[in-house]
């Protein structure tokens, strides 16, 4: 397989502030994110030849993206792959560009969660009219079972586990405090995180990402055309995706529930395409799916940043802080941005794009050349879709 390494370039990106946008609807968010991307790329909306559109529940067909932007009669593919939706849209748009089908493509993800009146995101809106005998989890309840299993498997006490998870939240809040577009921009202390109100034991409030509205967009083109738009375009180095099946952790009674194999496979696929052999050494920053602190912890291992069972040592050593060996969630992650489901993957790529261009301000990772964005749609109990995109500077 020749793959798409260095065949597709990002020439413009946009991202709204993430938060409780009571005064904006999803159309406003789409316009803001996409026009920032158009301006960044120096193009007009009418130049767009095709679009990929990701939302879980804030719109429907291609028309939902076309309407606010007045995109007329171009092909628009709507993608729903839960939290991995934006990654999925981006990856497939890249495949279309790499195949030569289109030269200038818009990818947009947007979600308006704060109009639902529901204090959770990521619930399955597609299980309509079933038997209703399956237990209904809100996501923290599923990820809490992963946490409990991880602690049990590696002999980590409840208190020790809570402390490790809290360290991740503290790190991400610190990074979020440096990120103007984040929903939560305040530092928190370890004690605050440990003692936060319980949500789904062992996960407390500060182990959970927020619920926010937001949109993000990217303009992509064939690599050889990128220089016509800008010098500091960003190349797609590799992409990977992997799906568990529905309720795999129930059907397979030997599934250990201490990692997410779909993340392992998606990252392996992306590393192979990008030619990355030692991710910990070769990746300069990673924006990963910290829907809950335990998710980020397990991702350290699943993506090969930490050896199996040894994320603890790296957390304690500060490996993933802004100043550490491999900064993770430099923008504060889902923890501080909240998680407007269909938009999050592109928000992650936006951070990498800015970091690789050296435009990340006080949280800039020095001389960042390669960045990784990872999302995970679904839960460890009900099965998930994992996706990884690796972006790099052209030099």
């Amino acid at each position: 397989m020749p793959g798409i390494k260095d065949k597709v370039a990002i020439i413009g990106m946009g991202c709204t502030d993430f938060g409780e946008h009571w005064d904006k609807d999803v159309k406003d968010l789409i316009v803001e994110a996409c026009y920032e991307a158009f301006e960044d790329a120096g193009i007009e909306p009418r130049d767009i030849q095709a679009a990929w559109w990701s939302t879980m529940q804030s719109g429907d067909l291609g028309r939902s993206l076309a309407y606010p932007l007045k995109l007329k009669y171009i092909p628009i593919t709507r993608v729903e792959n839960r939290c991995a939706g934006a990654h999925d849209a981006f990856i497939n748009a890249c495949y279309a560009v790499a195949a030569g089908a289109f030269d200038l493509v818009l990818v947009c993800g947007a979600e308006k969660l704060k109009d639902t009146g529901v204090p959770v995101a990521g619930m399955d809106p597609s299980i309509l009219y079933g038997t209703r005998v399956e237990p209904l989890y809100v996501p923290p309840t599923a990820f809490a079972q992963l946490a409990r299993r991880y602690f049990h498997h590696y002999g980590i006490s409840y208190e020790e586990g809570k402390r490790l998870l809290s360290m991740i939240a503290v790190k991400n809040h610190h990074n979020g405090s440096l990120t103007p577009k984040a929903q939560f921009r305040q530092e928190i202390t370890l004690e605050q995180a440990i003692n936060a109100p319980m949500v789904s034991p062992p996960l407390g409030l500060l182990d959970c990402c927020g619920i926010s509205d937001g949109a993000a967009a990217a303009i992509i083109t064939r690599a050889e055309l990128a220089r016509n738009f800008r010098d500091d375009y960003i190349l797609v180095k590799g992409a990977g995706m992997s799906c568990a099946y529905y309720y795999q952790a129930q059907v397979e009674d030997d599934l250990p529930l201490v990692s997410l194999e779909e993340n392992v496979r998606a990252s392996r696929m992306a590393y192979q395409e990008a030619g990355i052999k030692d991710p910990r050494q070769e990746i300069d920053l990673a924006i990963v799916h910290d829907c809950f602190t335990i998710t980020e912890l397990v991702i350290y291992e699943d993506l090969g940043f930490s050896p199996r069972g040894r994320a603890k040592e790296d957390i304690e050593a500060g490996t993933f802080t802004l100043e550490g060996e491999l900064p993770v969630n430099t923008d504060g992650g889902l923890k501080c941005f909240g998680h407007p489901v269909g938009a999050s993957g592109l928000r992650m790529m936006y951070e990498i794009y800015k970091q690789l261009q050296g435009k990340a301000g006080p949280r800039q990772v020095k001389d960042a050349k390669i960045g990784l964005a990872n999302t995970l749609g679904g839960t460890p109990v009900e099965g998930a879709t994992a996706a990884v995109v690796i972006l790099g500077r052209r030099d």
Binding site: D124, T131, P201, V251, E252
Partner: protein, 466 residues
């Protein structure tokens, strides 16, 4: 010879101290958990009764209750499905009277004698609601019993029966009534209970040429212990030695299930050769003369009453009880899944894995999987499975947590012979749960919204009782 082949019972693990209802009140009553009702308790008693027996041999199932959760829809079929019985059986619900349980027993015996069934299962359950502040609220307890009757391996020979019908307004409940209504208790007791049961029992003894001294036990489902003592004495029995204890202070009056539950309690202590007299009450009375056979020694290993009374979990506050019975309306959580509702075709298609909790075992590689699959998760073989019943398998908690919106503990359970289920956990405080804990499956009502239209019942994992 026809009679009882096996017995079982169910008492919820929860108790409410009567003190919590009104200071100075004595004892406690068994109360159904928030996810239990007459149907779920009947399933539990039935499964207890059939423990160790071949479920294929049951030809009929009768369900008796005055508090069936449906006004239209047969629940004996649901009990039969949950107990994984054959489909070519006779099912019927008996309702509306406190003697519905003994009426079902009489009908089952007649079916056995007539030869239309070789084995018939009778289950009675009640979860009656007394209005807050009423005597019924104090006296009513929740529970269920099940008896398997047949003609072979009879442990308790039912020698004779006699019935008496009596039209009276003593207790009743209209179509739209939530709570039991009654006339003044003095009238209900003197002209109702005491007179009717005395008449029925006297006639039964007379017709069978039996005297009080011929009985080891007199089993009376009386409105309260004082009435039972009074009646026993009037009939010429010695209450202190012959009257079966009414469990009033530890369980309460369990309605249509009460006479059968007291019979099960008596059978747990029964010795071969002993003769019992059982009398129910409810717009009349059904009286049975029973004699214990040598087979009784083989009918052990059921939890019955004794193993369900202890250990128990006492709730100390009345507010919890009111919440559980739906008498206090709580805020409904805002969750997206409330916009969906259960689908009848979907429940019907998946009835075996829902009611009988069938998983599948791959005939190629032997891997047990839940829910049933078309393609094996292990060896990918297509459509080569046999059904396995998981409802009677014990398991261990693999992982668990708690839903923050509903407060329901949920987790993954690994069954002892393979297979894993993601399910709700019940009957235990969250803080008691731990990885590796031994659990069993219990048929429960899922707490969905009223607007869901179809109440959904499914199996939950509970700590192993006794």
């Amino acid at each position: 010879m026809s009679g009882i082949v096996s017995y079982g019972a169910y008492v919820p693990c929860w108790r409410l101290a009567r003190q919590a209802i009104a200071p100075g009140s004595r004892g406690e009553k068994a109360i159904a958990g928030p996810d239990e009702d007459s149907l779920t308790m009947a399933v539990a008693a039935t499964v207890d009764c059939l423990n160790g027996l071949n479920r294929e041999e049951v030809d009929a199932l009768l369900f008796a209750s005055t508090s069936a959760p449906f006004k239209e829809k047969q629940l004996s079929t649901t009990v039969a499905a949950a107990a994984d019985l054959r489909q070519d059986i006779f099912t019927a619900d008996v309702a509306n009277s406190l003697k519905a349980g003994t009426a079902a027993l009489k009908l089952a015996l007649d079916a056995i004698k007539a030869g239309s069934a070789k084995q018939a299962l009778v289950t009675a359950a009640d979860c009656r609601l007394g209005a807050p502040g009423s005597e019924f609220e104090q006296s009513c307890g929740d529970g269920a019993a099940a008896l398997l009757v047949g003609q072979e391996n009879v442990a308790v020979h039912i020698e004779a029966s006699h019935s008496f019908s009596n039209e009276i307004f003593d207790t009743w409940r209209l179509e739209d009534d939530l709570f039991i209504r009654s006339w003044e208790s003095r009238f209900a007791q003197t002209e109702g209970y005491l007179k009717v049961v005395r008449e029925a029992v006297s006639t039964a003894m007379q017709r069978n040429s039996l005297n009080p001294k011929d009985f080891a036990r007199l089993i009376l489902s009386a409105p309260d212990p004082r009435r039972a003592t009074e009646l026993a004495r009037a009939l010429g029995f010695d209450p202190s030695t012959q009257l079966q204890p009414l469990l009033f202070d530890v369980m309460g009056n369990t309605g249509a299930a009460y006479p059968l539950m007291l019979l099960v309690a008596a059978l747990e202590q029964a010795k071969p050769g002993e003769r019992f007299l059982l009398a129910s009450y409810g717009n009349g009375s059904d009286v049975f003369v029973l004699q214990v056979t040598e087979e009784i020694e083989k009918v052990r290993g059921h939890r019955g009453i004794t193993d369900h009374l202890e250990p128990k979990r006492v709730i100390s506050d009345y507010a919890t009880y009111l919440k559980w019975r739906g008498l206090v309306k709580m805020a409904e959580p805002r969750v997206t899944h409330t916009i969906t509702y259960p689908s009848a075709p979907s429940i019907w298609r998946e009835r075996n894995r829902i009611f009988a909790l069938h998983g599948v075992k791959c005939k190629t590689c032997g891997t047990v999987q839940y829910p049933p699959q078309r393609i094996c998760a292990k060896c990918q073989t297509k459509d080569n499975f046999e059904a396995v019943r998981l409802s009677d398998k014990k398991g261990r908690i693999f992982s668990f947590s708690q839903d923050p919106l509903t407060g329901s503990p949920e987790g993954l359970v690994n069954f002892e012979d393979g297979g894993r289920i993601a399910c709700y956990l019940s009957d235990a405080g969250f803080e008691e749960l731990e990885i590796g804990q031994l659990v069993e499956m219990s048929f429960r009502k899922l707490e969905l919204l009223r607007s869901d239209g179809i109440p959904v019942y499914f199996w939950k994992a509970i700590p192993v009782r006794a």
